[in-house]
């Protein structure tokens, strides 16, 4: 029975792999639900903040914060959000592909690029391909906290305030549904689209201590919350992408096992037939 033993061990090993991938699929499915809830939970904060900023903006059209001013662009910053772990299909590479295309466009226009990295996969990517990385944060875990991001966002905002970079984008995977993730690059600073809200009534807040300080605190937190939202959304994408990838892997392992089982059975039968014919031939010779 040549080869039968090898086939058997191969089947056993594939079965083990299949067990792992199906376990990973279930874990990812459970985590995905939580990640989606977390993503929805971040919404009220950003919405409220946008309202307050909208009010402030209308009450003080003469005072424009640096975060709201457009300027000429000679250098842009990208906050790149990726997952910490692999085995999630083309999630990260799709994002990087979109990003490299964008970077190429910028480089052709003579614009320099800086990066801020969140997640180990992006770190690995930029380690291989270079690029000026200002800050990084990795291993945020399944439930990222906003204080893990304060430092990295501050580095970028400081660079923006000092005029080292003239625009900040955030690149992450947008969650469409379980099967679809959409690599997204959005402009973060200067803040866009705040002025279009029509507010007719003219009233103003009392400010304590004063309007500038309040607006400063608000805008920083607003930007942080947007980055946090992106991180959480990317987390939901990671889990759903992993779930789909692991489901495909489990199915593929099943197919492989079926095929190998067939080969194994054929080999076994061939061996038996051969043995019988040998015995018969031996008996005839006697």
């Amino acid at each position: 029975m040549a080869g039968a033993k090898e086939i058997r061990t191969k089947i056993a090993s594939i079965k083990n792999t299949q067990k792992i991938t199906s376990a990973m699929e279930m874990v990812a499915a459970a985590k995905m639900r939580k990640a989606q809830d977390r993503k929805n939970a971040t919404r009220p904060y950003a919405d409220k903040m946008r309202n307050v900023i909208g009010h402030l903006y209308h009450a003080h059209p003469e005072y424009t914060h640096t975060f709201m001013k457009e300027r000429d662009i000679s250098r842009v910053g990208y906050i790149v959000i990726s997952s910490d772990r692999g085995l999630c299909g083309g999630l990260n590479s799709n994002l990087f592909r979109k990003l490299t295309r964008e970077i190429k466009k910028q480089q052709e226009a003579g614009i320099q690029v800086d990066f801020c990295i969140i997640g180990s996969k992006a770190l690995g990517f930029f380690k291989r391909f270079g690029g000026k990385v200002l800050a990084q944060a990795t291993h945020l875990g399944d439930a990222p906290r906003i204080d893990q991001l304060i430092g990295t966002v501050k580095v970028m905002l400081d660079a923006y305030e000092q005029g080292e970079i003239d625009r900040i984008h955030v690149a992450y995977n947008g969650f469409v549904n379980t099967m679809t993730q959409n690599p997204t690059i959005e402009q973060l600073v200067p803040i866009i689209g705040e002025a279009d809200k029509e507010l007719k009534h003219h009233w103003d807040y009392l400010y304590e201590p004063d309007s500038k300080e309040v607006l400063d605190g608000l805008l920083t937190r607003y930007i942080e919350s947007l980055v946090y939202q992106s991180v959480v959304e990317n987390g939901a994408c990671e889990q759903s992408a992993r779930m789909v990838a692991m489901k495909a892997a489990t199915d593929n392992a099943g197919n492989l096992i079926d095929e190998l089982q067939l080969v194994y059975n054929k080999a076994r039968q061939a061996a038996i037939t051969q043995e019988i014919s040998e015995i018969v031939a031996g008996a005839a010779a006697v």
Binding site: V52, G130, L134, Q136, L206, V214, R221
Partner: protein, 140 residues
């Protein structure tokens, strides 16, 4: 029924409380604030401390480590920080993030190598396509 004001307490990580109240007390940077319904519009920063919500029946306590309080005549919104914020603390976090980046990427080039990245990504995509094709062939 006594006059009430709507209170929302939200943090970046999720909504904490939402409901009606007769009175809200909050630790503003300039001093403790008591907000009754029809308070004049106000925005202030908050110190770390206790936000108390008097619903008329009971007193609810929420600890905030800072944040921003927005008051409109019928709505109070507390944008709570979940992390303790201070200029030097933020600065330290920023320096930490920078240091990590420098450490992780020590000795690498400044310029992003577009061609190399694209080549590698194209290869990965080609591999994915090949796998897809194989899968289809197997199925049919």
């Amino acid at each position: 029924m006594a006059m009430t004001i709507h209170v929302d307490i939200v943090s970046a990580e999720g909504a904490i409380h939402s409901g009606q109240a007769e009175m809200v007390y909050a630790p503003g940077v300039m001093g403790e604030l008591g907000i009754a319904p029809r308070h004049t519009p106000l925005v202030t920063r908050l110190k770390p401390g206790d936000v108390r919500v008097d619903t008329g029946k009971e007193m609810l306590h929420f600890y905030v480590s800072g944040g921003i309080l927005e008051v409109q005549p019928h709505i109070v919104t507390v944008l709570a920080d979940t992390a303790i914020r201070a200029t030097d603390l933020d600065e330290a976090a920023a320096i930490e993030a920078k240091r990590k980046a420098e450490e992780a990427l020590a000795g690498q080039k400044e310029e992003f190598e577009y061609a190399k990245a694209q080549a590698e990504l194209a290869e990965a995509v080609a591999q994915l396509r090949a796998i897809e094709k194989l899968r289809k062939i197997k199925k049919s």
